[in-house]
């Protein structure tokens, strides 16, 4: 690792992408992530890369399709309403197995919603979003250091699985500043060649990147192949545990909610309440077994899920826990942040009920 640099989240995403070997960026302005395209528009020409402001998010994701299908590391970034527009393209990218990185700096919804941070696109990111049986790898960082590292990881996993990877972050992370040590720069010339890419049928048979299979059995087989790939992604599961074994109540949170939850654990400790945190880092694949094991091996009497939504990840938590302990919920939404005292208050109430 190199020197520590003070970076704003959005600019860290852009710089990390460049250092991870991305030379093709396509995007459309939307708050609160505009610093990313602005940064890219300055930096890409300096390093012989391509920055292109697309006419829409729909066009941006399809430009990513074309470039990703050409075998290069390509990315786009946007915020919630923009992701909705990209869903068609993401489904096609997943169907045609084209790697790319998509960053969603989430804001409140539905509809135009607002421009303040939220986590209400969890379902959309982790459960498909577009049509068809497909999944994207989804990463949920909590610090800017993690955010920068996940940009590298995202490009690596996208290439490894030939699949879109989504980084699910929010307006808080995009706008805040923290010191970052970027991972070592990726040497593009040393990346494995992508023999499946459409680079011209020279000395080989033609390559067709497509998602159309008119024969139902062929399409079923294609889906089974994709499913087998998604199953293999289980080995990429990442999570973090803090005071999981010895807590009375376990908080489960990701991203910005996990930052607030960590503070809640520290404040609760001063008040004599023992809380722990289980923090999923991969939101797809979700650490179902790991969470269940953590609860089975610890003494937590219940779980409190903390989100900046009205309850989305909680469904995965419930699937993981299979009813072995009660699962409660605390969430703020629409751009309102979770509050430490409210988390502790909810935790106290839950503990009264379960103990």
């Amino acid at each position: 690792m190199g020197e520590k640099l003070l970076f704003k989240g959005n600019e860290a995403i852009a710089e990390a992408a460049i250092r991870a070997g991305c030379r093709y960026y396509f995007g459309y302005p939307i708050t609160p992530q505009n610093a990313i395209p602005e940064y890219m528009s300055r930096r890409m020409p300096e390093i012989g890369g391509v920055f292109l402001q697309a006419e829409s998010e729909i066009a941006a994701i399809n430009m990513v399709f074309g470039a990703g299908g050409s075998g290069v590391r390509a990315m786009t970034t946007t915020s919630s309403p923009g992701i909705s527009l990209m869903q068609e393209g993401i489904s096609y990218l997943a169907g045609a197995e084209i790697p790319c990185v998509i960053v969603n700096v989430m804001r409140g919804g539905p509809g135009l919603g607002g421009i303040q941070p939220a986590q209400s696109d969890y379902f959309q990111a982790t459960k498909g979003g577009g049509h068809g049986d497909y999944s994207c790898i989804v990463l949920g960082p909590s610090t800017l250091q993690e955010l920068a590292e996940f940009v590298f990881l995202a490009f690596e996993l996208a290439d490894k699985y030939r699949n879109p990877v989504i980084i699910l972050t929010d307006g808080v992370m995009g706008q805040m500043m923290e010191p970052i040590e970027f991972p070592p720069e990726v040497d593009i010339s040393k990346l494995s060649p992508k023999k499946w890419a459409t680079t011209g049928a020279k000395g080989r048979k033609k390559i067709i990147l497509k998602s159309l299979f008119l024969d139902p059995e062929e399409l079923e087989n294609h889906n089974l192949h994709l499913q087998e790939k998604y199953n293999r992604m289980q080995e990429e599961i990442k999570w973090e545990e803090m005071n999981v074994k010895d807590c009375d109540l376990l908080l489960v949170a990701y991203g910005t909610s996990a930052r607030v939850s960590k503070r809640a654990v520290a404040v609760a400790k001063e008040r004599g309440i023992s809380l722990g945190i289980f923090r999923p880092l991969t939101l797809y694949p979700f650490p179902y077994n790991q969470l269940k094991e953590a609860v089975k091996n610890g003494r937590a009497k219940g779980i409190l899920v903390v989100e900046m939504s009205l309850g989305q990840m909680i469904e995965d938590v419930k699937l993981a826990i299979e009813g072995i302990v009660p699962v409660g919920f605390y969430g703020r939404t629409g751009g309102v942040m979770p509050v430490v005292d409210e988390i502790i208050g909810k935790a106290e109430n839950m503990l009264k009920e379960v103990m």
């Binding site: 093709y24 396509f26 391509v50 292109l52 697309a54 006419e55 829409s56 729909i58 066009a59 941006a60 399809n62 430009m63 990513v64 399709f65 074309g66 470039a67 990703g68 299908g69 050409s70 075998g71 290069v72 390509a74 068609e88 393209g89 096609y92 045609a96 459409t198 680079t199 011209g200 049928a201 020279k202 000395g203 080989r204 048979k205 033609k206 390559i207 067709i208 990147l209 497509k210 998602s211 159309l212």
Partner: protein, 249 residues
């Protein structure tokens, strides 16, 4: 490895059975595109983008790399390919529903950026694959399955003239409307399509050839009547002409 050794002999047009309906214009236009690619010797560095519609299966007929992208988005994907591989030949093949309805934003902006790509635009005045519904290019009074009383301008607006629309854009290098209704028109179309690729090879910017193409099946006509309809009716709304052509030095 056998076919690699004989690569010089590989032709762009595949030796396969067509799935297109009798009398359809796609087969002719596929052949003209293949011929242009062969004559320019660019088969090994060409990447096509297939549309959504009957001609999504164009990749079964042309022996070049292909990407298949969402309905109307071909010019955006072509942009991504061309920016990543500026020395390759990139073309889209799009129908009127794809290019002139759902994909109007993408075609206008690719043209306006002067993207150095070639667009082959098939205008047959109906949605073919879905069964003959009204297209943006459907003529006034023309009956389709969704304009059963004939296209009424008060309800459905007017036939969209793509070449006329794009001709005001500074990024456009070459624009021509042709048809494949007769041997003479096919020869003109052949020259136009080849020229469009030449414009791209000369890095002059955006080139588009609109081909008025017959769809006897959905027009409920005999093939011979359908080509006559192109000449006598369709060409009145969509005049065959060259709209723009930059000098290739």
């Amino acid at each position: 490895m056998e076919d690699i050794k004989k690569d010089k002999e590989i032709k762009t047009l595949e030796d396969v059975v067509t799935h297109y309906c009798p009398g359809c214009g796609h087969g002719t236009v596929h052949r003209l595109v293949a011929d242009a690619i062969d004559r320019l010797g660019v088969r090994e560095k060409t990447i096509g983008i297939a549309p959504i519609g009957c001609s999504v299966l164009i990749y079964n007929y042309l022996n070049v790399d292909f990407q298949e992208v969402p309905h109307g988005r071909a010019p955006a994907a072509a942009t991504g390919i061309k920016r990543a591989q500026p020395d390759k030949v990139v073309f889209t093949y799009q129908g009127d529903g794809d290019l002139a309805s759902i994909g109007t934003a993408e075609i206008v902006h690719a043209a306006n950026r002067g993207e150095n790509i070639t667009v082959i635009f098939i205008n047959n005045a109906v949605y073919g694959m879905t069964g003959g519904q009204m297209a943006p290019t459907t003529l006034l009074k023309q009956k389709t399955t969704t304009s059963p009383y004939g296209r009424n301008a008060n309800i459905a607006g007017f036939p969209l003239r793509v070449c006329e629309l794009l001709s005001s854009l500074d990024g456009v290098a070459y624009l021509e409307r042709v048809s494949v209704s007769s041997p003479k028109n096919v020869m003109k179309a052949k020259r136009a399509i080849r020229h469009a690729f030449e414009v791209q090879l000369a890095k002059k910017g955006f080139s588009l050839v609109e081909v008025l193409s017959q769809c006897p099946m959905n027009w409920r006509m005999e093939p011979i009547d359908s080509v006559r309809w192109v000449d006598e009716v369709m060409s009145k709304t969509f005049p065959l002409k060259k709209f723009k052509d930059v000098e290739i030095s």
